[in-house]
Symmetry: C2
Subunit: 465 residues, 2 copies
């Protein structure tokens, strides 16, 4: 077979050099035709669109072509010609074909017909070959890249915070333990406790639930940093909104107050969604057509409107006076549920909302305390369909106030002494937030189950692949 | 105090708008002067250079200025003026000063004098405020960004492979276990084995040692992918070259053979080093001056020269005939040690080297088997001072050959059935490699201990911060 440099199908479909012989490689999506000619829809992952390969059966012989079935992988030299059919401008008239790999129609799990998302989750090792998951994972790439580009262009430094940690950023439970101890016979101390001195790190360690605390150390030296890494929650939540392993973006900026923080969050989200509209339109259009025909309108709406900003106290008042029946009661001090957040966003304001100044009891120990003694300088960004997409705050930079709060809620100081210490040496106002990457992905793709926007979801009883 | 928009010190130092009042914020590196005037060197992390704040003591009073010591954080309004002193073109004449946070000279660990890298490792929560670590972590950001940019510009998709996994990519031991079982009383089955059905994932799980196997699934659908995430080794190695938690970049490309793979690796490394020279020169110059005066020459040399390519067999022959005394003996079949790799690179070729076609016994099960029955289509890139910086291969895409190899070495099929399965459905040639991000960082910064190029190193008995 003649050696030609491979052309991606994305490039081939945009090419105007008809009459030229090119090489494409890819996976067969469908093959149809008649006794004389076969039409193969070929995809190589570079675009949601297939290129049509027109095969003169007499040229290759039926026997040779037989293994070219859905899922097989082929290498094709052929002439790029204007397409006779509808829907695409060019196609390829095959001159030489090499079959790289077959896919027995009796056993190949991805036949032509549509499969349920549930079924595709079970074959996550193959689902990136479908139109839906090809589109989703291409968008996932573009969103990740946009995140890095946004921060890089604005002088933020990407700061790698540790995955294995002895601290607990949220002061919450539900962490995975990391160990090299022999679980068949866990070593014990004389007092009968687990002897962590024999563990790899000489102490008990967990998977991080957030890089924020270490991120603050970075910001208090480099000025503006962001993290983008995996985080973990061992909550036994089997819902379409929870993953045990997910990716989080956490910018942290020295000298920012909570208003700067809100401005950053709003600008950041709009940038990302605009980037998706500018760079992923074919994939978004496909997902919109298949799953959610309001998707594109929703994305445009967020880009083009200011987010409404109000305090938690004002938000609760609106909810109390709404006359709306909620599953969970609303009152000042209640942790807002998704139904409340979505009421404010979808029914009341019909617009993304930023709620600020939450009661300190329902927020983390590190948030800056307001002078009222009751609230903290938090801000949550609430989105249609999603609820909370970003949570953040100005941080308490005063050593005494922070220490008092830590003691009030009975936290151990030992694992976070360094976090307190940084308030002793050149402390300064600073603020930051966390964006759940998969929450963003749900919003941008219109998918409704978080397991469908990450390649290999980790959930209770599922660590396949 | 007048509200002015903050100017970063990087921008202020480049500004030509002398006579204008600007606002800067940052940490005091030093303060010196006489009875009438104080000179503060201020840094905000945006550049390795400090800006000089000139303070008329009479204007503020000695008492007010007293807490402005090394490590304190201040907020300054002042007039940008041409500098009287040497080394910088502009300085700021302070008009208003706010002290954000003090740093008691009696307890602040980072005094003016130089500290050892060993000492700074112990205070990793503060070391980003030093010149050295500011430079290193800025370079780390730029290298991470360059990696994403390189792949994005070339149509690769960033593909998130799982961190918690039930497979073992290398077929090696030394993994961290991840569990939610109560280690005080580990549940047992009737046969006395650990009852992993009660664990979070219903099975035994570990931290990933590589995203390659799942990355191949992505490449065999999306065409070209890369991973960039944390990986883990529970090896009890207390050396300047080993971390328990480190970041790895693993591109994987459908239809690439091992020559394409080598071309990609060489082009990628040269791009990254050129990017560092183009974007991080001030920081690199500082590190070169402080730690390694051959650094810049070495970086330029790699960018400007072709890597030498030869087979493992040829490499071993050169080593055997070298007359050189090595600590570890060299013979065909031996796993090359750093001393051997560095001899080839630094003494023999005086150039980066790519070794190919290693004995199958010393390489992983998934590498494509050569027809000689003895070697596999591996390629390792060897760098001066570092040894192996990249390891990769063409992958065995033939189901029967791969299964045979898996059985030969006694691997369990159960955790990687899906990896084998992908060879049944549309298999194709493909290749990829892994770049240890911290190895790259060592090369680009000239540092010699891997604990100094990651913000919070994880090593035996150390999971601090």
């Amino acid at each position: 077979m003649k050696q030609l440099k491979r052309t991606t199908i994305a490039d081939a479909l945009k090419s105007v050099e008809t009459g030229k012989e090119i090489n494409v490689k890819g996976w067969v999506r469908t093959r149809r035709g008649n006794k004389n000619v076969s039409f193969v829809a070929l995809n190589d992952g570079t675009t949601i669109n297939n290129i049509q390969i027109v095969i003169d059966i007499a040229l290759f012989g039926e026997e040779f072509l037989k293994p070219i079935t859905t899922g097989s992988c082929i290498n094709v030299n052929g002439i790029l010609v204007e397409s006779q059919g509808q829907g695409q401008s060019v196609e390829i008239q095959a001159k030489e074909i090499q079959i790289y790999g077959t896919a027995d129609p009796a056993t190949y799990p991805l036949q032509k017909k549509g499969h349920s998302l549930e079924f595709l989750r079970e074959i996550a090792y193959l689902r990136p070959r479908t139109n839906t998951f090809g589109a989703i994972f291409r968008i996932r790439h573009h969103m990740a890249y946009a995140i890095h580009k946004y921060f890089n262009d604005r002088g933020f430094y990407y700061f790698h915070t540790p995955i294995i940690t002895a601290s607990d950023a949220e002061g919450a439970g539900s962490m995975f333990e990391v160990t090299t101890l022999d679980m068949n016979s866990v070593p014990k101390t004389e007092e009968g406790k687990i002897d962590f001195s024999q563990d790899f790190f000489g102490r008990q360690t967990n998977l991080t639930v957030s890089g924020q605390l270490e991120g603050e150390l970075g910001a208090m030296a480099l000025g503006a940093i962001y993290t983008f890494g995996p985080t973990f929650r061992a909550e036994n939540s089997n819902t379409p909104r929870h993953l045990a392993e997910f990716w989080m973006i956490e910018p942290e900026v020295a000298f920012n107050d909570n208003t700067d923080n809100m401005n950053l969050a709003e600008d950041f989200l709009k940038y990302l969604i605009r980037y998706a509209l500018d760079n992923c339109m074919e994939d978004i259009e496909f997902l919109s057509k298949m799953y959610d025909n309001e998707l594109i309108d929703r994305l445009n709406f967020v880009v083009n409107n200011n987010f409404v900003r109000l305090t938690y106290t004002e938000g609760v008042k609106i909810l109390e006076e709404s006359g709306q029946k909620f599953e969970f009661p609303v009152y000042w001090g209640a942790d807002l549920q998704s139904e409340h957040e979505r009421y404010l966003v979808e029914k009341h304001f019909k617009c993304p909302v930023i709620l600020t100044d939450y009661p300190k009891e329902i927020k983390s120990f590190y948030m800056k305390q307001n002078d009222d003694g009751k609230t903290v300088r938090a801000m949550d960004v609430l989105f249609p369909k999603i609820g909370e997409i970003i949570g953040g705050s100005e941080r308490e930079e005063n050593y005494d106030k922070l220490l008092k709060r830590v003691n009030e809620i009975g936290m151990h100081i030992d694992p976070i002494w360094w976090y307190l210490e940084i308030r002793k040496f050149g402390t300064a106002p600073h603020a930051g937030f966390g964006l759940g990457f998969e929450r963003l992905m749900l919003f941008v793709t219109g998918m409704t189950n978080i397991r469908d926007v990450i390649p290999f979801p980790r959930t209770p009883n599922n660590a396949d692949f």
